[in-house]
């Protein structure tokens, strides 16, 4: 878990240690509160050492976000079974998405939001984002092919579903939902996922 303790002049594992420290920070603090200098302190290293491994603060954030999208992809696939039909895939993906977002709100906010300058500067970020979107698009496409979905354009439909789920996650995360307790949030999520499914499924 913790990076190897190293008393020598060279840390040995600083790059990963900084990323780990950043992930840890995002558990309790917002992206805006995350500082390179604090990460360096936590890694037991001088305040400019990070610049040997990251051009920018933005680059570190971009790598965190990339890693976040990969985790999101896993979350989307976690509850899926190979034999799932479209309705089951929808439910699994939706729950996986919301679970990830609500369990890692600050990381999620970093992935979307404006943590970095310009995400087009980071091709790996774009790619990992695309992979996550691809999971959605895959079952939507299959659902349309199998005539299970009431839709024609797979990409547009997948984008629409993404927007709905993303909006739901954002509103809840930003406290715009009246319900504070865990249980009523889950009910809200289920109700919303139900409304999406209800009208998209034939």
């Amino acid at each position: 878990m913790t990076p190897i303790e190293n008393d020598s002049y060279h840390h040995g594992n600083l790059r990963q240690a900084l990323l780990d420290a950043a992930v840890r920070t995002l558990k309790n603090h917002s992206v805006e509160q995350l500082s390179l200098r604090a990460l360096a302190r936590e890694a037991g290293v001088s305040q400019t050492a990070p610049y040997r491994h990251f051009k920018d603060k933005h680059q570190l954030l971009a790598e965190l976000a990339t890693q976040g999208f990969d985790e999101l992809t896993e979350a989307l696939l976690a509850d899926r079974q190979p034999e799932d039909n479209t309705a089951q895939a929808m439910s699994a993906c939706g729950r996986g998405y919301l679970r990830f977002a609500l369990n890692n709100p600050e990381k999620y906010r970093l992935m979307f939001g404006k943590g970095m300058h310009d995400r087009t500067l980071y091709p790996e970020l774009e790619a990992s984002g695309m992979r996550a979107f691809g999971v959605l698009q895959e079952w939507v496409t299959r659902g349309i092919e199998n005539d299970e979905l009431d839709a024609s354009d797979p990409e547009l439909t997948a984008y629409h579903v993404w927007a709905c789920v993303h909006g739901l996650a954002s509103l809840i995360m930003d406290g715009k939902s009246h319900c504070s307790d865990q249980e009523s949030v889950e009910q809200l999520v289920e109700a919303n996922l139900g409304m999406i499914k209800q009208r998209l499924l034939k």
Copy 2:
């Protein structure tokens, strides 16, 4: 437009001048780039003068956001006609919402997102947000009463629609839409609004 020029020791209109400068800044810069000191410079005043009018940077941001929600409420009502049926109200609200968000992306990001510490500290902010949501909820409620909408719970349905539209706005603003030109964005918006309507109208 510009605050009154005032060579005297006292500015005379600093509070509003700062808010105006902030709004101007958000036209070209992100919330993160907005600094109190820069606003003070733009108002031709020392760097700590703002603290006579705002306890915090957060308080200034909260007031901007409050003002933003009021503008959003106007935008939601702008294209509405008193005799509109639910379908027409949906379209007008949806277009108004997206127009506001895409024309004022940084202000919108401030309104949602994590610009302030804790929005519950600013009751006026909460209230103006509620007024905006109320516009949505109003026509949803009427639509259900008139049996024009295929839904039962007005609040839940309004929240669902809000999530869909908010998600769409966020994804487009954060550049997750492939389409860069104005025209294809509008097509994307229309297609998405269409899918929401199609699914909700009886």
